[in-house]
């Protein structure tokens, strides 16, 4: 599925790039995913997606501060996540403070051509949510965390997500096949949540976004996994009775097979 980035980026390219570069009139970005549906079956142990693309009129000079650079973000469906911190209370370790992050991505991976900090200034990266330090982690109003400790919670949250493989940052992982064609692999771990994913690609020039594309990708269970999950969600009573019946049958069968007296 190859899709051009549309009017907005074309406009942006014309407005920002054309005057600066002079002879180049466009640096349009085109991207494509190796697959737009990730199927989860009983043998699923994780996979990866390959993102291909071409930046037209792209002439990349490594470490050229004025050059063109790329960042690709893969984002999973949103979640609300509570982060808790333990403290000692009467000699035992218990959860004390809690911070609830709302609408944070359940999966987040970013790949780029150079260090993320060098792509653009902090405000732009924050706006676009490029890089683990720049994800928008909105907190809920109710929180017993002192203001001075807020950053510790954000760091802990990102670190814990990184440990599960659900958040990752791979700087300089975008490879160039030709002067303008690139590809990158984003690993999808076995524990990825199902849902609609967004793949956002950004082309930077001199610290500004000159072109961007966005594609969607679905992660879905199929076959037996899907039937089981649907049954559990939509007909929980039937599912519960089925589970109990299976258990009683298995137990009874074993009791009969291994009869000793």
């Amino acid at each position: 599925m190859i899709r051009s980035s549309g009017l907005w980026s074309l406009l942006a390219a014309v407005l920002f790039v054309a005057p600066a570069v002079g002879e180049e009139n466009t640096s349009d970005l085109v991207t494509s995913l190796s697959s737009d549906v990730i199927s989860i079956q009983s043998n699923f142990t994780g996979t990866e997606i390959v993102i291909f693309g071409q930046a037209q009129n792209f002439e990349r000079q490594p470490n050229d501060p004025g050059g063109l650079e790329l960042a690709i973000v893969v984002e999973g469906p949103p979640q609300d996540i509570t982060t808790r911190r333990k403290g000692r209370f009467l000699g035992v370790w218990v959860n004390r403070e809690a911070e609830r992050f709302q609408h944070v991505p359940s999966f987040y991976a970013v790949a780029s051509t150079i260090d993320i900090g060098e792509l653009a200034n902090r405000n732009i990266l924050d706006d676009l949510g490029i890089g683990l330090n720049h994800i928008n982690l909105a907190v809920s109003g109710v929180s017993n965390v002192p203001l001075a400790d807020r950053d510790d919670f954000r760091e802990a949250f990102v670190r814990l997500r990184e440990e599960t493989g659900l958040y990752s940052e791979q700087e300089t992982s975008i490879q160039f096949l030709t002067a303008s064609m690139f590809r990158t692999n984003i690993p999808l771990p076995a524990n990825i949540p199902v849902g609609e994913y967004r793949v956002k690609s950004f082309l930077f020039k001199g610290g500004e976004v000159v072109s961007r594309t966005e594609e969607t990708m679905a992660v879905a269970k199929i076959g037996f996994e899907q039937i089981t999950f649907r049954l559990a969600q939509q007909y929980p009573l039937v599912y519960g009775i089925l589970a109990v019946s299976l258990a009683i049958f298995t137990g009874w069968l074993a009791g009969v097979i291994f009869r000793r007296d």
């Binding site: 142990t45 979640q79 359940s106 258990a247 137990g251 009874w252 009791g255």
Partner: protein
């Protein structure tokens, strides 16, 4: 071999899970317990989400107790009347447990309450059993005849009103302690994700003076139905019963249980109780250590809403 679990949404090594089911099944067959108090922590330590572990173990306990109940039923070692009254209390206690479970989960103190309960109950019951079994073994070694159970032997429980006659157990006792016991164990079982056999068996023996030959079958029968109800509650409420995980555990469990039961017949009652006491105390100690030592990571996260919640 890796197998993706449809509800837990993670792949697991099926042989490891099968092995865990088998090992816990062996112990449950050996001691006549459901094994939930061993299996739930084992699954959580191996990376299965706690909610899925708790709910799925209830299903596994149904299978392992069903298997054992068949055997005890054939031996006529079940007091149906006693089991039914315990069950009535159990359902009531379980209902209160479900409510408390939700409240604790939303304030983030569920883990603490589970750990503290494990430490308290496993420590206390393990300690009592250890003390009692060591005394019994010593007495047997020294050749002193164990005191025979006399019909007239009463404690304060036998003075309560609303008495009912339980013929199989040769008991004439008030229903209040029976319902109460069922309720407490149903409550703890729901909150802790265990069948509660290791608490039910000593309580029936020491408090109600139910004959040892009847205790295990009756306790298992009651657990079978409480856990069947708990499975359906979990399926409808938390929606975290993983049928694939449950099946794997069950098959391992029922096979292990057969070997356990066979080995149990070659061991003396007091030796069995000593081994069980050590096991129970060991698990309790493991939780105590976690509560007291500085955790590796002070922070933890829990998904509250959205994908995978």
């Amino acid at each position: 071999m890796q197998l993706y679990l449809p509800i837990a949404e993670i792949p697991v090594n099926i042989f490891v899970i099968f092995g865990m089911g088998g090992a816990v099944g062996f112990l449950s067959g050996l001691f006549g317990i459901g094994g939930g108090f061993l299996l739930t922590p084992l699954l959580i330590f191996s990376g299965i989400p706690p909610a899925v572990s708790v709910a799925t173990v209830t299903t596994q306990v149904v299978a392992s107790s069903a298997s054992a109940v068949v055997t005890y039923w054939r031996r006529k070692a079940i007091d149906l009347k006693l089991a039914t009254i315990l069950l009535a209390g159990g359902v009531f206690g379980s209902l209160i447990g479900v409510i408390l479970f939700d409240v604790l989960q939303s304030v983030g103190q569920l883990d603490l309450v589970i750990s503290l309960s494990y430490v308290t109950f496993l420590g206390a019951i393990g300690g009592l059993m250890l003390f009692e079994s060591v005394r019994a073994i010593r007495r047997r070694k020294s050749g002193a005849a164990p005191k025979a159970r006399r019909p007239g032997q009463h404690n304060w429980i036998h003075g309560l009103p609303l008495k009912v006659r339980f013929r199989r157990s040769k008991l004439y006792v008030s229903v209040i302690p029976v319902v109460g016991l069922g309720a407490i164990i149903g409550f703890l079982g729901t909150v802790l994700g265990i069948g509660g056999g290791f608490m039910m068996v000593p309580a029936l023996i020491y408090l109600l003076r139910v004959p040892t030959s009847i205790v295990i079958g009756t306790s298992l029968f009651q657990i079978l139905f409480t856990m069947a109800a708990a499975t359906i509650f979990h399926a409808m409420g938390t929606k975290t019963v993983d049928i694939v995980l449950a099946m794997t555990l069950m098959i391992g469990g029922v096979i292990g249980a057969q070997f356990g039961a066979r080995m149990g017949q070659n061991l003396r009652g007091d030796q069995l109780r000593l081994l069980l006491a050590i096991l129970v105390m060991g698990v309790g100690l493991r939780f105590a250590v976690d509560l007291l030592l500085v955790p590796d990571d002070l922070y933890s996260i829990a998904i509250r809403k959205g994908a995978g919640a």
